[in-house]
């Protein structure tokens, strides 16, 4: 929100340039739906959103597991 609409900007000009749903909004909506579905699926498959779910620890396979 770095700048605001000009006070002298014509509403007709503003609306005329933006009639209909812009393509970027459609793409954004598709990506948003995909992300939300993934989050819901992960939450359901993992039985919720907690430590024993998709955040399962790296038992026996952690990178540099044998720390000193």
């Amino acid at each position: 929100m770095a700048s605001e609409p000009r006070e002298d900007q014509s509403p007709a000009e503003e609306a005329g340039a933006t009639t209909g749903v812009p393509r970027w909004v459609k793409i954004f909506a598709i990506i948003a739906v995909v992300v939300i579905v993934i989050v819901i699926v992960v939450a359901i498959v993992g039985d919720g959103h907690g430590p024993s779910r998709h955040s399962s620890p790296l038992k026996g396979g952690g990178v540099g597991q044998h720390g000193t």
């Binding site: 929100m1 509403p11 007709a12 340039a17 933006t18 749903v21 812009p22 790296l58 990178v63 720390g67």
Partner: protein, 172 residues
């Protein structure tokens, strides 16, 4: 609202939002250290510090970004639901803040495991924060791009408001 108050609100919003992005980047770095460090104390320390750091840094910045964004929408001509890009930013912010609040349980559980001396290091290490921090960075980067580029597009509500303003007779 005076121009000074507007500038102040805008400064607060930018500070909270950019600060949130930076804090998440730091968490991503911490997560990678937790996965890759060869030192047990370092690994345990990473997962122990994440929970309080999230409470004292991530959550205040997230809430601050959300609240200051709402204020921005209310005190500037942009509004909250007139432009698609403002609405998209708001949805991203609400989604990311909700995920963060839900994820606090995971931070707490990881800290408990890290504090357990009997827990093996492989059990302490956890890849989950890497995924979550990466997802949060993508979301916050998208919000930043929207704020900078401000792509055109009025919502149906914004179009109705615009038409109403057009129909209103101009007072001289």
């Amino acid at each position: 609202v005076s121009p000074l108050a507007r500038k102040l609100a805008f400064t607060a919003h930018v500070s909270f939002s950019v600060g949130w992005f930076g804090a998440v980047a730091a968490f991503l770095g911490l997560s990678i250290v937790g996965l890759t460090s060869q030192h047990e104390e370092t690994v345990r320390g990473v997962y122990l510090v994440m929970e309080p750091a999230a409470w004292f840094v991530l959550i205040p910045l997230a809430i601050g970004s959300l609240v200051s964004g709402l204020v921005q929408g209310l005190v500037t001509p942009w509004g909250l639901a007139r432009h698609y890009w403002v609405l998209a930013k708001l949805l991203i912010n609400v989604f990311a803040t909700t995920l963060l609040l839900v994820y606090m349980r995971t931070f707490s559980a990881m800290a408990n495991v890290a504090a357990d001396d009997q827990a093996e290091l492989g059990t302490v290490r956890n890849i989950s924060p890497v995924f979550h921090a990466a997802l949060a960075l993508v979301l916050l980067l998208a919000a930043t791009v929207l704020a900078v580029y401000k792509p055109r597009g009025l919502t149906p509500y914004g179009q109705r408001r615009s038409q109403t303003r057009l129909a209103r007779p101009v007072r001289r």
